[in-house]
Symmetry: C2
Subunit: 249 residues, 2 copies
């Protein structure tokens, strides 16, 4: 699986791309493009949702936490998705935290504006329902992966998923943040990253990880990456029957 075959979508968000042109036009005044960095919070669990977000080059994460402060990512949201569904369904607070994991651009729309469109257009409801279903598969597979697989396997999976959603081969994140993503301690991450670098798969710099040999990482990742990837490919394919090559590689 190569990363290249998604480059068609780099310039826009997949969900937004499915909207009929006249709906896009009507949303235009309420849309803003913004550059987000990991310091920007999207939602904190149980706080009010004001905007819905459609990532372009940024990568967001759903984070689940315990009262002891442990945290693990349960799902990623990139150019293929959105966050803010709860508000569309009439829930005024988000059930968990959403953070910016990799800096980049997002489109945001005030929740009440997008909700009017959502309520009026069955196509969008169906699209988001399908997206949520896809996310369901992602959550389930992450769950079994977080339970049974080693730090090394989980890290391979995460880096590949991040690579699918970022712009280029460089991931701007610290090992501390990465540890929070895969639900491990920083020292464990440090050791595993060191091994990956020795193997030539990645290059480590302060605050940055560069993917060098994606293929090697795919080999050593657990099947969870493939399962999740196929779920998303299936979602994309359903709505883009005319695009050649996306799912056939």
């Amino acid at each position: 699986m190569s990363k290249a075959r998604r480059l068609n979508y780099l310039n826009k968000n997949f969900i937004l791309a499915q909207l009929p042109p006249d709906e896009i036009d009507s949303l235009q005044p309420a849309m803003q493009m913004a550059r987000m960095t990991p310091e920007d919070l999207i939602f904190r669990a149980n706080e009010r949702v004001e905007y819905v977000y459609f990532p372009i080059t940024a990568m967001l994460s759903w984070i689940a936490t315990t009262s002891e402060g442990e945290r693990v990512e349960v799902g990623v949201v990139g150019w293929e998705g959105m966050v803010g569904v709860p508000e569309m369904l009439g829930y005024s607070v988000a059930p968990f935290t959403v953070e910016v994991e990799l800096p980049g651009d997002v489109v945001r729309i005030r929740a009440e504006v997008f909700r009017r469109t959502f309520d009026r257009v069955p196509l969008i409801q169906n699209l988001l329902f399908r997206y949520y279903f896809t996310a369901h598969t992602q959550l389930a597979q992450s769950s079994v992966c977080n339970r049974f697989h080693t730090v090394e396997e989980r890290m391979n999976r995460w880096l590949l998923m991040a690579h699918d959603r970022c712009d280029g081969d460089e991931l701007a994140l610290t090992q501390e943040i990465l540890a929070g993503m895969i639900g491990a301690r920083r020292p464990a991450v440090s050791i595993v990253l060191g091994n990956l670098q020795k193997a030539g798969s990645i290059r480590i710099e302060r605050g940055r990880i560069t993917i060098l040999q994606r293929e090697k990482m795919e080999e050593s990742a657990c099947e969870c990456y493939r399962v999740i990837r196929e779920a998303f490919d299936h979602f994309i394919e359903d709505h883009q029957p005319s695009v050649n090559g996306f799912h056939s590689a």
Copy 2:
């Protein structure tokens, strides 16, 4: 939180109960009541979905597995829910396995019949979308619980969730099955159950666990039980504004 306050719903499935009477009438010929036991498979991952299922007293589980045969439950489905949403969205295969965990009654409807209703009635689409959103919270919390909490905490959570969905205080399951649910080995389950019995919370018999002191178990469970419970309460409450007391205990 007491179990008693849901007894109103014991005789019917919550989703079905929300359907307009005329829709129920039209579905009636395609509906069957069936008694299911853990030997009956509902869906196996990647196989075709023929029926949608609405549990009454049975409890079903979503199971995620790895290629090594490890397995963990990622969500439970009881009287409050249904399985078969993928088929409604046009996916002909289920993304993961669904099994009967506790024996009991279910209502089943041929998938293509229920899909016609789903396609025609926006109310049902919205209802199922909300249900899926609720399940999302459940998956996310299960994920962090499976990652960080001890076997004892996870078992307390699971037993409470099962107790909420079964008929009475007896859970008909083996320790082997329970181990698969919480993603642990059987010996660990055996030891923890022994401790719970010593504490007077449960009674263990061959193939059966009886809940004796629910309150004590709620105290020693992690917060994950409460988080998931509140998500479901919220879902139920939204659609039952006239029912007093359900959410206020």
